[in-house]
Point group: C2
Chain length 133, copies 2
């Protein structure tokens, strides 16, 4: 864990990969992750954890399959949303976005149940920021 | 927990109190809190939890008492920092700031050990956003 403040803009500038979260810092046994995203992720669900999203730049859509049917929420820059545990969801960002997530350390990006993982999505538990630099 | 996205700007516009965090959403047994701050908080420590800060607007200073001595970190807008559990710290914002925090539900703003709480600081475990509207 860094003992200095981290500028999210600098952290985002340090990598290019899409749908491949970087762990910026940890809070107890939770990660703060950032990601660049564009296009579509995949339908997946985290059975045991909620997942928090904050849009840092651009717009993020999150399709949700709920008991009442399917809907999509739109998050603009500076907007937040928590996907409840167990809810199938599919993030997408036609125009690209930068996002921040809070979730327990070890949470896989593709959840516990998911569609086939497309090549452009990184199935990971998050990468350490700067490890590849 | 809201089932719609929340704009942090709108959430911040919904209250005026300083050093009095509002709970925007929950992630499992953690809160995402926002606060308006200006002037000085107080020296305090959370014995059992780290505390995450993201500056949404303005500048936040966090004075830290570490084994190696005292130092102050400066967080500008878009910068993040995690105060490790057990570390005495005192946030301040001479020019005012808006911040986002991530910490376990029930964490008191003044920690488990603290100086006398000044009148301008709200000793709370966070207020529900919009509850006072």
């Amino acid at each position: 864990m860094s003992n200095r403040p981290i500028a999210l803009a600098d952290a985002l500038a340090s990598f290019d990969a899409l749908w491949s979260p970087r762990i910026v810092t940890r809070v107890n046994d939770y990660d703060v992750r950032i990601a660049k995203v564009e296009g579509e992720h995949l339908w997946h669900a985290h059975d045991d954890t909620d997942e928090f999203f904050l849009v840092l730049d651009g717009e993020l859509r999150i399709a949700l399959r709920e008991a009442s049917g399917e809907r999509t929420v739109l998050l603009r820059r500076g907007e937040v949303f928590t996907v409840p545990r167990g809810t199938e969801h599919k993030p997408s960002a036609p125009g690209g976005a930068a996002i921040l997530m809070f979730e327990p350390t070890g949470t896989p990006t593709v959840g516990d149940r998911h569609d086939e993982v497309p090549d452009h999505v990184d199935a990971t538990k998050g990468h350490v920021l700067g490890a590849e630099v």
